[in-house]
């Protein structure tokens, strides 16, 4: 217990512990190291899933076989989904940036349960490895889609059980992270940091954590039931034995729709964090943004059946779920309007994180509006299970959260590693990503509206021109992603030394050195001002008139 070297406050990257080499990282309970562990492992899964996606797009270039067999295509879209959802986007922002930043932002030395935090990462790794192992076991990778719909997931001979267990374990990891964050936010805020002096990213994490805790167990039990069904033939979802496959869909979406908000809420939080810094303005409508996160978490838990409008529900049920879907767009729209209002009359400074945030707002709006279209019962019947849906959720998940993650990576990169990145390649990467993204996914709205079903290996020749545009987009996007990552990796070694506060942020993490010392704060700060106090930049009243 006495090994901590405290002579010159070493930063967390170089601090000496009594473990050496890699075990100083993989057994560390320091929230900052755990955040970096998550980041590295998550990006490996992300890049793998990106490659799968690019190959799938290549397959769709021509009708019939282009590069792979139909069964391979089925396993590819399954793996792409499982990895992107369970291994990248759900743990993405909360586990990486939540872990790294939450204690820094609220002025704490660590999360409340540091060892539980390490356990979450280990569960994440075990789940990820299990998913990878399932690829190489006899039987072949799962081909059910990430949704594991019964009865096919009971009957297919591929390795569904390891994939289900992987998702179960990852869910457990997510629950523990959520539980940890809620307790941390309740118990460890620095003196003076009242609820409404918390940064908005913290608010987003708080709402996310509640969904993680309340919704994830439902998917846990549902996936376990499918495992039991496969092993023992109990009959709970098997129509031959009286089971109801639609019940599975309900249970699945009771978790998986709120999970959509696990994915997007932290992204919304990042935007609220980045915008005021580069607009040099107090965020517009702080309290409303904070409440809207909670409102999204709450209403978002009650809309799950809008994924199932074609299964034959009662009309009353359909009407209610459609109405609730419309309602959940209100808090989301409130955020967008508040962001725009924050930019209005701000002293805007264009930096890379802001560029990603602007792309986020644009793409998230398109994703949100097409989501509303999908919530309309009549339209939904027409475009259910088509490329329209694929386009919609990629606009929200990738165009939103994915770009939010890129913004976060660039925004907090100097804080995490103490180095600045090169600006020009990052801007080129951002431009290619934004252009490539829109070229890739926008044609999908047309494809879907014309009736191209999702997950189909083959298509009619009249759809080909859209497919070609989309595939070309995937190449542009891929090059953009590569440039971004190569630039960041090179900057790790060769970047200029970062100051404590390169962007002029006002939240607590910018008050300590980059990279932060092991103990975060030499003395726990006393918070007096709100998180976005830019009053010195704001136009004085006499000039304003």
């Amino acid at each position: 217990m006495t090994t901590v070297v405290r002579t010159s406050e070493p930063d967390y990257l170089h601090a000496q512990t009594n473990r050496k080499g890699i075990s100083a990282w993989i057994f560390s309970t320091d929230h900052k190291r755990i955040g970096i562990l998550y980041m590295v492992s998550m990006l490996v899964f992300f890049l793998t899933a990106v490659v799968l996606g690019v190959l799938m797009r290549l397959e769709m270039l021509t009708p019939g076989k282009t590069i792979m067999e139909p069964q391979t295509y089925n396993t590819f879209f399954t793996l792409h989904g499982i990895m992107m959802i369970f291994l990248f986007i759900i743990p993405g922002l909360p586990a990486v940036f939540g872990n790294f930043l939450l204690p820094l932002m609220i002025g704490a030395k660590d999360v409340f349960f540091p060892r539980l935090n390490l356990l979450s990462w280990w569960l994440f790794i075990i789940g990820g490895l299990l998913a990878l192992v399932s690829l190489f076991l006899p039987g072949g990778p799962a081909d059910t889609g990430w949704t594991f719909y019964v009865p096919y997931s009971i009957r297919t001979t591929t390795n569904v059980i390891p994939a289900l267990f992987a998702a179960f374990i990852l869910g457990f990891s997510s629950i523990l992270t959520g539980l940890n964050f809620i307790t941390t936010i309740h118990r460890m805020r620095a003196p003076g940091m009242t609820w409404f002096k918390m940064p908005l990213f913290t608010w987003a994490l708080y709402s996310t954590a509640w969904i993680q805790v309340l919704a994830t167990p439902v998917i846990g039990i549902t996936l376990l039931l499918v495992v039991v069904e496969r092993l023992f033939g109990v009959g709970i979802f098997d129509p031959n034995l009286g089971g109801d496959p639609v019940l599975y869909q309900h249970l699945f979406w009771i978790y998986s729709h709120p999970a959509v908000y696990i994915m997007i809420l932290p992204g919304l939080g990042v935007v609220s964090e980045v915008l005021p810094v580069f607009a040099r303005r107090t965020i517009f409508g702080y309290k409303v943004i904070a409440y809207s996160s909670l409102a999204i978490a709450f209403i978002g838990s009650l809309v799950w059946a809008h994924h199932m409008f074609t299964v034959g529900m009662s009309n009353t049920g359909m009407f209610i779920f459609s109405l609730l879907t419309f309602l959940v767009s209100i808090p989301s729209a409130i955020k967008v309007f508040n962001w725009i209002a924050t930019l209005y009359k701000g002293s805007i400074k264009i930096e890379v994180p802001l560029l990603f945030v602007l792309s986020f707002i644009f793409q998230f709006s398109i994703g949100g509006l097409t989501g509303l279209m999908l919530g309309v019962l009549s339209v939904n019947i027409h475009v259910q299970d088509t490329y329209f849906v694929v386009g919609h959720f990629h606009y929200v998940m990738f165009g939103g959260t994915g770009f939010g993650l890129m913004a976060a990576m660039h925004f907090w990169f100097p804080k995490m590693f103490g180095k600045m990145f090169k600006k020009t390649p990052a801007i080129i990467g951002w431009l290619l990503m934004t252009v490539g993204f829109n070229v890739l996914y926008f044609p999908m709205f047309f494809l879907g509206y014309l009736g191209m079903p999702r997950r189909y290996y083959d298509f009619l020749p009249q759809y080909q021109s859209y497919h070609i545009i989309s595939t070309v987009g995937s190449w542009i996007l891929f090059i953009g992603i590569l440039i971004i990552f190569i630039n960041l990796i090179i900057s790790l070694k060769k970047g200029m030394k970062a100051p404590a506060n390169p962007w002029g942020g006002k939240t607590l993490e910018w008050t300590i050195p980059s990279p932060p010392p092991v103990e975060n704060f030499q003395e726990i700060p006393i918070v007096e001002k709100g998180p976005y106090d830019y009053s010195e930049y704001e136009i004085k009243p006499e000039i304003a008139k």
Binding site: S28, T183, M188, I221
Partner: protein, 204 residues
């Protein structure tokens, strides 16, 4: 010990308890999914569920309910004992709780093996001949009581650790939040059984 753990000596029992309650919440929701499944199928096949429930022995269920309720009492008493600094009494009471848990499992074992011996188990020819509602009832019976039994076993391990911690002094009169957490978990196991018992044994 790594750096963060080594320098973190803060103690906040309220926070620890809060974390535990959140965890219990997730456990309740885990079983909540199963209760939804039960409710849906009971609504779909009311008569067959009624009929199938008559196959279960209410006496065995009642005995197990009494055993679990008593074990909740002993675990609560063990917390009071440690608060008063009676280390040995507290350990003895936890030991009693574990014995009750064992008795519950033994009972369950005989109940299951009796069912299996008369040919009621998933995919058995006997069961497949029965109407769909009864197949579902017994499917749920095995899944829900099975998952509950798994929780009983986990609870026993948790309590065993608490006992060791009392012996080594990690849990003591001043700091007993770990035992409280273990006790809370045990009460959860109890409460879930309180719901399982009427759903499977009493509504017949």
């Amino acid at each position: 010990m790594t750096t963060a753990a080594a320098t973190h000596t803060h103690r906040d029992d309220v926070g620890s308890r809060m974390g535990m309650w959140l965890f219990l919440f997730t456990e309740l929701i885990l079983f909540g999914g199963l209760f939804i499944v039960y409710a849906v199928y009971r609504f779909k096949f009311p008569e067959q569920f009624q009929l199938a429930a008559r196959e279960l022995d209410t006496l065995v269920g009642t005995v197990n309910t009494i055993i679990l309720l008593t074990s909740s009492l002993t675990v609560a008493m063990s917390i009071t004992a440690i608060q008063q600094g009676k280390k040995h009494l507290s350990m003895m009471l936890i030991g009693m709780t574990i014995i009750f848990a064992l008795a519950f499992l033994v009972n369950k074992y005989f109940e299951w093996s009796h069912k299996i011996s008369i040919g009621i188990y998933p995919q058995s020819p006997e069961l497949l001949n029965k109407p769909q509602g009864e197949i579902l009832y017994f499917g749920l019976y095995y899944v829900m009581t099975g998952l509950h039994a798994l929780h009983v076993i986990i609870g026993m391990v948790v309590l065993l650790f608490s006992m060791v911690f009392i012996a080594t002094g990690k849990i003591n009169q001043q700091s007993y939040v770990k035992l409280e957490a273990g006790g809370l978990y045990w009460h959860l196991v109890d409460i879930i059984w309180i719901f399982l018992f009427p759903l499977f044994y009493l509504i017949s």
